[in-house]
Amino acid sequence: MTTSHKPDRRDFLKTGAVVAGAAIAPGILFYGIAQGRAPEEGASSLVRWGMLIDTSKCANGCSACVNACNHENGLSGKTGPQDSQWIRKLNIKHLQTGIEHNLPMLCQHCANPPCVDVCPTGASMKRADGIVLVDRHICIGCRYCMMACPYKARSFVHEPLSDQNPDVPRGKGCVEACTFCVQRVDRDEQPACVEACNADGHQAMLFGDLRNPESAIAKAMKAYASVEVRGDLGLNTGVRYQGI
């Protein structure tokens, strides 16, 4: 990066990708080699990103997904009532049988998201490929989406922030939530939580395209029973759980 990097050569294929080598961010490198969609192509409704979480593989006390999320998205990792948590480990215990499950709870990326319905300005939005995002440019910080979300998936930024990850802009006065690591998905990578879970050997989280019958997630969902959380609400969530 320290070599002369002329503005007109921001076309990465032209610059010396080889010279820049390991120093250049791998995401940028990816544009050159990825088989996925081209940068100018945009998200497509032919794809719907989803996640299948196997609660039986989710280890009690493990917080690899949470840590990875905090690191990737620049969250402090603090867990006070006013701190942001995009993903959290939830322990649930059946009131009658006492059976316990561990699972990560995050934005469920609903097909019919209540947060998008209630947002007065349209800042809460769903991308063509099903990823639910907050457009911070027009978020006024009214927090109505937080009232509407059945999963408590959203957080409000209560204090000024600095030194954000350049890929993940976030700041005071706006509402935020899990983005499925959209900056990674757009360069054909997995969300940070999924990657961390796999790296730890749990393989409890599976991410992929629900619309593609050949994808691992679509096959798994065909093979095993899975549920939507608060399925009674009919939100058609993008995150599904098996083992509950």
């Binding site: 959290r88 939830l90 215990k93 709870m105 978020c139 209560h158």
Partner: protein, 397 residues
């Protein structure tokens, strides 16, 4: 306005006026300093958090917004239903509708995370959002009531006061329906998610609005040394009693419905019996202070001859209204969201536990700004309108 506006230059009460203005200005100053402090440091300095996302400012703001549409009822009864004693009160009623709404909206706006983006809120509309529809209703309300005030005060436009008054009446019903729906449309929360919120908020608005009107009217009569006619007071107080009783009725129906649904039992037990301070605020604040006691006072012998008693009853209705809003807004959020019904939940994000809320002083300062705004606008408007001679209005139109 003639019967209520004489607390001004003619009456030699300028000192009082400036005193009032200074008082309101001081409160407003504290509100603005709280606002800039929160704006600078973020909401971390408030008691609100990721569990209780709407707090004290919203309690006060929603009360004012609901009361604003209700206070217009006095004018509606005069213009739409042709009752004479209400007709003379129409201008004050219309004015209060505008100033109270302005107060409520001011607090809502000052509490936004990005209040600097108010232009964004006015230029980007998601029409599926009941919040966005509310904004349109608010703007329309200002416009329609403004025109309505003109028709009341200009002799040439007077014939229009009936149809415009009728439009204002319909508009305010729609507005309160939308305000109630802000809560009624929240499918996720046990305490909301009921169509009853729309009509219930309309009834609440009748009661709160009339109570606010009576308080302002009493104050102005007092300052202007005017005695109110017993018959008039008697009729208005009976109307207030009907509204307060109807409010209690709707509240009862809401909770009875919930008690019939097994899935709502936990919530009802929380809000009515066990949950923190909320049952106390509900029973003591909303039901007893805001409902039963005012009813008893209104129907006590000789109440029609005692403006003081009616004033106190109205004040209690207003206090009860704030208790109701506190239970409706904060109480419902305090109840843990059942993400997995039938399971006990624990997490680092306070799942499965009752969420505590203690408002900071800043929130109190911010919340009081609504009343201060209303107070200042009303006081100034009442004084200035007195200065506008009718013939000058005639020349304009």
């Amino acid at each position: 306005m003639t019967d209520v506006t004489c607390f001004t230059a003619d009456c030699k009460k300028s000192k009082l006026f400036w005193g009032l203005l200074a008082l309101g200005g001081l409160v407003m100053l504290s509100t603005l300093s709280a606002y800039f402090y929160i704006e600078h440091h973020g909401h971390i300095v408030t008691g609100m958090n990721n569990q209780i996302v709407w707090g004290l400012p919203h309690v006060f703001a929603v009360f004012l917004i609901v009361a604003a549409s209700g206070v217009l009822n006095v004018a509606s009864i005069g213009s739409v239903f042709g009752k004479k004693i209400y007709k003379t009160r129409s201008p004050l009623s219309g004015l209060l509708a505008l100033t109270i709404l302005a107060g409520g909206l001011a607090v809502l706006v000052l509490d936004l995370g990005r209040s600097d983006r108010i232009i964004v809120a006015m230029t980007h509309y998601n029409f599926k959002s009941i919040f966005a529809l509310n904004m349109i209703f608010y703007i329309g309300f200002f416009a329609i009531v403004g025109v309505y005030l003109l028709t009341l005060m200009d002799r040439k436009l007077k014939p229009w006061s009936h149809p415009v008054g009728f439009l204002a009446f319909l508009w305010r019903l729609a507005l309160t329906t939308a305000t109630g729906s802000v809560f009624g449309f929240l499918v996720a929360r046990a305490g909301y998610n009921s169509a009853l919120y729309a009509p219930m908020f309309i009834i609440y608005s009748f009661a709160y609005g009339l109570a606010c009107f009576l308080v302002v009217q009493t104050a102005m009569y007092k300052w202007s040394n005017i005695q109110i006619d017993e018959n008039i007071l008697g009729r208005i107080k009976n109307l207030l009693a009907v509204f307060v009783a109807a409010s209690l009725y709707f509240t009862a129906v809401l909770h009875l419905t919930n008690m019939y649904f097994a899935k709502q039992w936990d919530f009802e037990r929380f809000i009515l019996v066990e949950g923190d301070t909320y049952p106390m605020i509900f029973w003591l604040g909303q039901v007893i202070i805001g409902g039963i006691v005012p009813l008893l006072m209104i129907f006590s012998p000789g109440a029609a001859k005692s403006p003081a008693r009616i004033l106190l009853a109205s004040l209690l209705v207003i206090v009860g209204g704030h208790a109701q809003m506190y239970v409706t807004i904060v109480g419902v959020q305090a109840f843990p969201l059942a993400i997995f019904p039938g399971y006990a939940e624990t997490s680092s994000f306070f799942d499965g536990v009752v969420h505590p809320y203690s408002p900071s002083t800043l929130e109190v300062m911010l919340a009081l700004g609504g009343m201060a705004t209303t107070f200042l606008l009303t006081t100034v408007a009442v004084r200035i309108l007195k200065f506008l001679p009718i013939d000058r209005l005639d020349q304009k139109h």
